[in-house]
């Protein structure tokens, strides 16, 4: 999971768009998926988002699938439940004793694609935005205090370290014989055995990290300078402007 939902260093149209503009794009998509409750426009939106991922963000189908497969499983289950339990009046067919209605299939499809679309658009955002740019966007453009914005970034930095440490602990404890004993009680015990050294290591490391960051002036002032600058791509802004206009038009035409 952690490997799948991660920034991909690449060159693409979406990579060139700055994070804030991409957030606006994500918001447009989110608004649109919530104004429709029928299958067709939802499928349309999903296909468009998917095409954005493939063509504009140049993400490979494999990467996208790995990013959304858990959601895919979840939404299939969700779909089946909806189909079975949402009431309708136009009967399509019968499965054993169960009545399947046209309206419920339509609604279930809409909801399912809604989830997938939101998930895919966030995947595009994460995969095409350098975390450093996100931090700068959050602090400089959205005026979020950098102490908060940066802490997420620092947490990201430690994911690989934690992953490799977890692998070592697993091997180290297997050698001691952990895992040989069966039963739920032993399983719970083993989880504790595994997490204690991981936690102790992490705590110790966090303390040193906090000390060094503090010693390097982190949080000394309410703002800071950045050697990185965010380039606003004109094409990107134009692209998102089209989305904004489209969204406003569709929302307006729905209610007026």
């Amino acid at each position: 999971m952690s490997m799948a939902f991660q920034y991909q260093e690449k060159k693409s149209f979406m990579h060139d768009v700055d994070p804030l503009t991409k957030i606006v794009w994500m918001m447009c998509i989110s608004i649109l998926v919530f104004i429709y409750e029928t299958a067709f426009p939802q499928i349309e939106l999903f296909v468009i988002t998917l095409m954005t991922a493939f063509l504009l963000a140049r993400l490979s189908p494999k990467f996208v699938f790995r990013g959304i497969w858990i959601m895919l499983l979840f939404s299939i289950g969700f779909f089946i439940l909806q189909v079975l339990f949402v009431p309708g009046h136009t009967q399509l067919f019968m499965v054993g004793p169960l009545h399947i209605y046209k309206e419920s299939v339509d609604f279930a499809t809409a909801i399912t694609f809604r989830i997938l679309t939101i998930f895919t658009s966030s995947l595009v955002f994460v995969a095409t935005s350098d975390p450093r740019d996100i931090v700068i966007s959050l602090t400089k453009q959205l005026k979020i205090p950098y102490r908060y914005a940066y802490s997420i970034f620092v947490a990201l930095r430690f994911v690989p370290t934690l992953e490799s440490e977890a692998r070592i602990i697993e091997a180290a404890q297997t050698i001691r014989g952990v895992g040989k004993q069966k039963g739920l009680k032993n399983k719970a015990e083993n989880l504790k055995r595994f997490s204690l050294p991981l936690l102790m290591g992490a705590l110790r490391r966090v303390r040193v990290t906090a000390n060094t960051m503090e010693a390097k002036g982190y949080g000394a002032y309410s703002d800071r300078t950045y050697i990185r600058t965010i380039k606003i791509s004109k094409k990107g802004v134009a692209f998102v402007l089209i989305w904004v206009v489209l969204t406003v038009y569709l929302v307006a035409s729905k209610w007026m």
Partner: protein
């Protein structure tokens, strides 16, 4: 001249503790000085460093009394940001102190926080990376670098604040000897060329001591001795040894020679000085006729490796055509720089990484077909960090855990008398019986390590593999561990140890296996290894000072290596008898 750092009657007690860690301590450090602080673990030497820049008491709470003046500023009345430009601090664990993904960002981090103009920061990045010899690494990812490179980035990342003072708190503990030496060379450069004030806390001081202007010895929160390296070594070496510290081998030898009536014009602290003192006075007697034969010639092989290859997922070779055998009852040291394939190799021996068919045989059996858990019947494996291996809630249960698993005795079931007896005996052998009800995590570093060794061997395995068991430990506790290994060897077990501590290896091991870029480049007697200059050079091994001295004093090529103080002294015995 006013000192750049001054501690006046400083007493400090950590939060939640009753005993102060610093006791009425006063200290002055002048601008441009190179100061080395030594002391046993827990003596307060790291705490002293943390008072300099206000981490204590600003970040770490606790009770503090006295005065701290750094660069003319009263530390106790200031915030951290006012101090960061005076002082740069580098710690032991490179992974914990680098909080950015890219090298460039790491070096820029501090000046960015201090609101330096981006233009100026770019200059500083270039400058700092040049000073530490890491130019060209700007866009590399920090976690892909080697340990030594990470520490250099760590130093660059504080240099970019343009601090007057640079403090290194055990910064080389996790590095291999070559990387350590590189950092020391860098410190010398920063001191001599750029005039930085440098303060170093360090355990292994063989290659560092002579660079310092002043050595401060700390014990129990107080300064017990200070002076030039020569003064300290000549007059207080006994104190250092008693504290369990590493002292330079040359000086240890010098003291032994003095005891035998040898007098020096200038007490030697480096190989060069010792050579000058001994040249001519030391007869050319390096022909030890009856060298203690360390390898056991006639025993069987217990591990055979035949043409083992291993590639990382990215395609580079971690092991290339490795073939060798290890004799039963041997004490083998596996040497080589970090990244040379040592750990990958022993992971194969244990089966943590599954070897291909017909490549590794343990006691004659192809281990390709064995499960990891079954391997534990033959081999005890001690990981680098003992905490990773701890599985029980108290020391006693930890020691006998594998027996419980082996015999299928549940957590709450009573133990048979013989297991209890076995646990008691093994804890007694490492003097930990009194701590049997404690939680393993609260033991000291050395105790944890020794506990993990006996716990790994409770099933009576006859081979033990240890992965860097002495890293970061002081001399006393490292020696205790090696003595334990020695006892295991005397019981007939085979000991295989990855380590960087050449001096310990020379004292205790029989054979050495040297790895370089995934290839085995030496497998043989440990003493003779140091006669093969090409291998030493290739594997970046740092030769023990004694061996260097013996070679320089000998008028012709040595037949056998002289690698310990005892062996060196024996050459003198040889002269005496011949006369």
């Amino acid at each position: 001249m006013t000192p750049i750092i001054e501690l006046k009657n400083l007493t400090y007690t950590y939060e939640d503790e009753t005993e102060p860690v610093l006791k009425n301590l006063s200290l002055q450090i002048h601008e441009g000085e190179f100061v080395l602080i030594v002391g046993p673990s827990g003596s307060g030497k790291s705490t002293i460093c943390q008072t300099f820049n206000g981490i204590i008491p600003n970040v770490l709470d606790g009770e503090i009394e006295g005065e701290i003046i750094v660069d003319g500023k009263e530390v106790l009345n200031l915030e951290l940001k006012d101090l960061s430009t005076s002082m740069g601090l580098v710690f032991q664990d490179p992974d914990a102190q680098l909080c950015n993904i890219y090298v460039e960002d790491e070096v820029a981090f501090a000046p960015e926080n201090l609101k330096v103009e981006p233009q100026e920061i770019h200059h500083r990045i270039k400058d700092a990376l040049e000073k530490v010899g890491m130019q060209g690494y700007e866009t590399r990812k920090v976690f892909e670098l080697s340990g030594g490179q990470k520490q250099k980035v760590g130093i660059a990342s504080v240099l970019s604040m343009k601090p007057k003072i640079l403090v290194l708190d055990n910064a080389t503990a996790n590095l291999d000897p070559q990387a350590t030496k590189d950092i020391f060379d860098l410190l010398q450069l920063l001191h001599k060329e750029y005039g930085h004030t440098i303060i170093v806390v360090e355990n292994k001081i063989d290659d560092l001591m002579h660079l310092a202007d002043r050595v401060i010895v700390v014990d129990d929160g107080q300064i017990v001795s200070q002076g030039t390296p020569r003064e300290i070594l000549e007059h207080s070496i006994d104190i250092l040894i008693k504290m369990g510290l590493w002292v330079p081998e040359i000086s240890e030898l010098a003291v032994k020679l003095q005891q035998q009536g040898f007098s020096f014009e200038k007490f030697p602290i480096t190989v060069d000085e010792a050579t000058k003192e001994l040249q001519g006075k030391w007869r050319d007697a390096f022909l030890p006729s009856s060298r203690p034969f360390r390898s056991k010639p006639n025993s069987d092989d217990c591990i055979t490796v035949d043409n083992l290859n291993y590639r990382y997922p990215n395609g580079t070779y971690a092991l290339k055509n490795a073939s060798f055998s290890i004799k039963k009852g041997d004490f083998v040291a596996i040497l080589g720089t970090n990244g040379s394939g040592k750990t990958t190799l022993v992971k194969h021996l244990m089966g943590i990484i599954k070897p291909p068919k017909k490549t590794i045989f343990v006691n004659g059996e192809d281990i390709h077909y064995k499960k990891l858990l079954d391997m534990t019947e033959h081999i005890g494996y001690v990981f680098q960090n003992p905490e990773h291996q701890f599985v029980a809630d108290n020391v006693f249960e930890e020691a006998i855990y594998s027996l419980r698993v082996q015999q299928g005795i549940g957590k709450d079931e009573d133990l048979p008398q013989e297991i209890i007896q076995q646990g008691i005996e093994s804890l007694e052998s490492i003097k930990l019986l009194e701590a049997k009800d404690k939680h393993p995590f609260v033991l000291s570093g050395g105790e944890k390590r020794r506990l993990s060794v006996i716990a790994s061997l409770i099933l009576g395995q006859d081979i033990v593999i240890l992965d860097e068991p002495t890293t970061g430990q002081d001399y006393a506790s490292a020696t205790k561990l090696l003595e334990l290994c020695n006892r295991l060897q005397e019981q007939g077990k085979t000991v295989i140890m990855i380590t960087h501590d050449i001096r310990l290896v020379c004292k205790w091991a029989n054979t050495a296996l040297v790895m370089h870029n995934g290839e085995k480049i030496y497998n043989g007697d440990i003493g003779d290894l140091f006669l093969q200059e090409d291998i030493l050079k290739k594997a970046s091994l740092i030769e023990p000072p004694i061996s260097q001295l013996a070679k320089r004093l000998a008028s012709r090529k040595l037949e056998h290596g002289v690698i310990t103080i005892d062996q060196f002294m024996q050459t003198r015995e040889g002269v005496k008898q011949a006369l």
